[in-house]
């Protein structure tokens, strides 16, 4: 199809503002899917995504509308996947910006909307859910127009649920979104905006062809990584897989590569032809490295091989996931895993638990550190337990945080950033109402609950994004935790020297609440090296009996003991002490209480 008849777009919307419903309606109206056959919300394929209301992996669907080929490219919706979102948006010329008529613009929408504007996308503003009784389409429309600098008259009003106005949306895509403008005769170039793994066909790349034309059986090359492969099959989804034999400039589709390792084909890379290679890759490729690390341990040590297999399987589909074996005295055999961010970590954990039916203990996340022991070379440390006792210098990753917030919350945001060792960088007014702030912060300060804090302190209005800006020296120390005199490696923390005492104090207090009373007194200590900085005691129980036990009570009493026993089995043994798994998460919640 000639490029002037192609439109590539994505939908940007806050969770629950109707992205999936609108996608369904579009598929229905364009007869891609019959109403009867349609599973609710076709694009969100994974069970997990549907429950969390987010989309983990982008997909693209091709539909026809009034003689035009429309490609709907789905985007993930969270800060951890900013890079993936930016690649998905780079594959489009336009975006539908969808806002709930009752709720108006939400924080999460903004970051992606700005990403779309940065990528020079034509924004088609849409107010959804106009059928709701509490809808205020005028206000939502004005806000939306104001946000993107458009005329409020251009804002479309629809109800994806009833289908009202959805045809006009399709017309607007054709009219307003510019056609692709690549060179059909140039050496072929395609942007990989997503990939997945099929156990029979290998790595499947989702691509946007920018220049030239690709055909089946053509030898290809990924330009940044240099990976060579063949296009075993080319085609598109509509939404079922349709093999087409070729993909041309401006089109969106998939390439089945036969590659057995997903890490050899990375999102953002450019595919070109081996026979007629392009001289320059498309811009914007980044090698995304995990910066957040956490230990994953099976609750039942017998599940270790299952966890290993599950991580191998996940890794096939998730090039950003990193893992290496780790052994903890307290938690046994497990893996130290690297993630893009906290949500990525949460998703991996949930998939392991849900899809692979594993019971896991996830230790508190930490960042990667660069450490120089005396008279040795720099090493990268992924776990507090691996932090050498003697350190000459240590560096931690820093980010540049970009926060957009209504002006009345500027003070709250500044306070939060100051608490988190942030260095103020820049402030500007985007409009009379909204302010854009930038700060430089240690990544370690945001991995725990920064995003939650930011949201709660700004009533959800702040939008947040960040870029890693490199490693910088830090005054960092390792705080160890001892339970009944035994160090618990999984509870060690690396913290800034100035906050070590407060964090140690908070941690042992927290643990005292989490560790149930035992048959003896249990001392809980926080220490830097040999120096104890905080101490609490869990007092021994004095009685633990069921008074009455006669003929009619025996079954109930036995079941009670069995439950008690099962509860104990789920606990981890630290020396003589039974420590519940929740205690290992105690570190996670410290920051929530650390309000200056």
């Amino acid at each position: 199809m000639t490029q002037d008849r192609i439109r590539n777009f994505s939908i940007i919307a806050h969770i629950d503002h109707g992205k999936s419903t609108l996608a369904d309606r579009i598929l229905e109206l364009t007869h891609a899917v019959s109403t009867r056959d349609m599973r609710a919300q076709v694009l969100d394929t994974m069970e997990l995504e549907r429950e969390r209301g987010i989309t983990i992996k982008a997909q693209a669907v091709r539909v026809e509308w009034k003689g035009h080929q429309l490609n709907l490219i789905d985007t993930p919706g969270h800060v951890d996947f900013t890079y993936e979102v930016s690649r998905s948006l780079q594959a489009c010329e336009g975006a539908l910006l969808v806002v709930d008529a009752a709720q108006g613009t939400q924080a999460q929408t903004l970051a992606n909307a700005y990403l779309a504007i940065e990528n020079n996308l034509e924004i088609v503003p849409v107010v959804n859910k106009i059928d709701l009784p509490q809808a205020d389409p005028d206000a939502a429309g004005r806000e939306l127009a104001d946000l993107i600098g458009d005329d409020p008259g251009h804002v479309l009003r629809i109800s994806a649920k009833t289908g009202e106005g959805v045809e006009e949306v399709l017309d607007a895509i054709v009219e307003r979104v510019p056609p692709p403008a690549g060179d059909p005769d140039a050496p072929p170039r395609a942007l990989i905006f997503d990939s997945s793994y099929d156990q029979y066909r290998g790595v499947v790349a989702f691509v946007r062809v920018v220049d030239g034309r690709f055909s089946t059986r053509e030898p290809l090359r990924a330009m940044a990584l240099g990976t060579r492969f063949e296009a075993e099959e080319l085609g598109f989804f509509s939404p079922t897989r349709s093999e087409s034999g070729f993909l041309e400039a401006g089109e969106v589709g998939y390439v089945i590569t036969g590659l057995k390792d997903v890490s050899r084909l990375r999102v953002g890379d450019t595919i070109t032809s081996e026979r007629r290679p392009a001289s320059e890759a498309l811009p914007g490729y980044k090698d995304v490295k995990p910066m957040v690390f956490s230990g994953l341990f099976p609750t039942d040590s017998d599940d270790y091989p299952d966890l290993r297999d599950a991580l191998e399987r996940l890794k096939l589909n998730d090039a950003a996931l990193f893992y290496e074996p780790e052994t903890s005295q307290a938690l046994g055999f497990g893996f130290r895993c690297g993630f893009l961010g906290l949500l990525h970590m949460e998703i991996v954990r949930e998939r392991l638990e849900r899809e692979f039916d594993l019971d896991l203990i996830v230790t508190a996340p930490n960042v990667a550190y660069r450490v120089k022991p005396p008279n040795e070379d720099w090493v990268e440390v992924h776990s507090p337990a691996d932090m050498p006792d003697e350190i000459e210098e240590v560096e931690e990753p820093y980010i540049k945080a970009s926060i957009i917030v209504p002006k009345e919350y500027v003070g709250a945001v500044m306070e939060l950033n100051n608490d988190r060792r942030g260095r103020f960088d820049h402030l500007e007014y985007l409009s009379e109402e909204r302010v854009h702030l930038t700060y430089e912060l240690p990544l370690a300060e945001i991995v725990l609950d920064y995003y939650d804090q930011l949201k709660s302190r700004t009533r959800g209005y702040a939008s947040f994004d960040y870029d890693i800006i490199g490693f910088r020296p830090g005054k960092l120390v390792r705080v160890d935790v001892l339970v009944a005199g035994e160090p618990v490696d999984a509870l060690s923390l690396i913290v800034h020297r100035d906050s070590a005492y407060d964090r140690g104090r908070a941690l042992v207090e927290r643990l005292r609440e989490e560790i149930p009373r035992q048959h003896f007194d249990v001392a809980i200590q926080a220490a830097i090296g040999a120096r104890v900085i905080a101490r609490e005691t869990v007092k021994a129980r004095r009685k633990d009996v069921l008074a009455k036990c006669y003929g009619g009570d025996i079954t109930r009493k036995r079941k009670l003991l069995e439950r008690q026993k099962a509860g104990k089995k789920r606990m981890k043994q630290v020396g003589m002490v039974e420590v519940p798994q929740e205690a290992f998460l105690a570190v996670l919640n410290l920051d929530g209480e650390r309000k200056s």
Binding site: H519, F520, R541, R542, K543, D544, V545, L546, A547, K548, C549, Y550, G551, G552, I554, T555, K557, R558, L561, E562, Q564, K565, K568, M576
Partner: protein
């Protein structure tokens, strides 16, 4: 088929329902007592096969067995098989001189008196009818009628009960010199009227009351009582004054239970009769067994129960085939902590182990 040597008979009727009680009870219904006893005897007839020809113990529990209409009670006691130990549970306010004499005449040789406390304020909190002088009078009636094996039930951990309140209750009980005492910590079951009224207060007092169990054991052992089971004490002397009926439960013996809500364990099967009075009586009047919840007990489960129950006693548990359900590692850990004593053949809890018996037993079971 093995046959039970122990018979439990449930008499659910009470004058009123106490807030903390979670037994199967029925308030009043004087007109139904006779019909109910009739049903009990029909059930006994149906279950004859499960009973040994000579019984060791019979136990009438409730409810308030002595609230049962006297002619119905008399008919029941006359019809029940004879046994070495025949116990009846009684509430003090029901225990007249006449009733005491009648029980004695009908072969009852042990009475368990539901005292709970000797202090009007605490009796009131528990919804008890009896007052301290009622209790003493009932006790004297029993003695006068010739009862030489009387047990008192006490409850501790009552909302508002101070340590000195507990001491007074124990002293008052000891003064009566009963042969046997059962002391239970008040259990506030979620959802009961009692918990609704007193739950918050009990929660506040929980830490202060943690030492009450130790206090009970200290006071009673000092007064010459043997702490022979977690919650039970008997006077030390020439006679073995332990409750033979309850010992049967704790030693894992078979028992037959008759009546509404009653539980039986015979020959590897446990069953519980329907707790609904009308359904129970209807079924038996129609000549069939009442509706039952049936639980088959595997050998493994029986062994676990024998460990669980046996460790409540002060005599060492002989391991034998029970060794296979005991976690060796946990056992040596608990031995290090001074909570269990063990040699190759037996296992027992130390004194401190007995105070922590629930958790320790959970640890010990493999």
């Amino acid at each position: 088929m093995t046959r039970a040597h122990h018979l439990y008979v449930h008499l659910p009727f009470c004058a009123k329902r106490c807030g903390y009680c979670d037994f199967v009870t029925v308030v009043g219904r004087g007109s139904q007592h006779g019909k109910y006893v009739h049903a009990l005897l029909l059930e006994l007839g149906l279950e004859r096969e499960a009973l040994a020809p000579r019984l060791e113990t019979v136990f009438l529990g409730g409810g308030t067995p002595t609230f049962t209409e006297p002619r119905a009670l008399e008919r029941l006691l006359t019809a029940l098989p004879d046994a070495g130990e025949v116990t009846v549970e009684a509430n003090p306010e029901t225990m007249s001189r006449e009733l005491a004499a009648m029980l004695r005449r009908l072969g009852v040789n042990r009475v368990s008196l539901g005292v709970q406390s000797f202090q009007p304020r605490l009796l009131d909190t528990l919804d008890r009818v009896a007052q301290p002088d009622t209790i003493r009078r009932a006790f004297n009636h029993l003695r006068d009628a010739g009862f030489d094996n009387i047990s008192l039930d006490l409850i501790y951990g009552i909302p508002g009960q101070s340590p000195s309140d507990l001491d007074s209750d124990l002293a008052a009980a000891i003064e009566l010199s009963p042969e046997h005492l059962s002391c239970y910590e008040l259990e506030a079951k979620p959802g009961t009227r009692f918990t609704h009224a007193h739950g918050a207060e009990l929660h506040r007092q929980a830490e202060a009351m943690e030492s009450y169990f130790e206090r009970v054991v200290d006071r009673l052992t000092a007064a010459g009582y043997r702490w022979y089971e977690t919650a039970n004490f008997c006077r030390i002397g020439e006679r073995d004054l332990r409750s033979r009926h309850n010992l049967a439960y704790w030693l894992g013996r078979d028992y037959l239970g008759l009546g509404v809500g009653a539980v039986s364990t015979v020959d590897g099967t446990r069953w519980r009769n329907t707790p609904r009075l009308a359904a129970y009586m209807q079924a038996l009047e129609a000549g069939s067994r009442p509706q039952r919840e049936i639980e088959p007990l595997s050998d493994d489960v029986r062994r676990r129960e024998r460990v669980m129950l046996g460790l409540r006693l002060d005599e060492p548990l002989v391991l034998g085939e029970l060794a296979q359900v005991v976690d060796r590692k946990a056992m040596s850990k608990l031995e290090c902590l001074g909570l269990v004593r063990t040699d190759a053949r037996t296992l027992a809890l130390t004194s401190r182990g007995r105070f922590l018996g629930g958790g320790v037993t959970a640890d010990l079971l493999a």
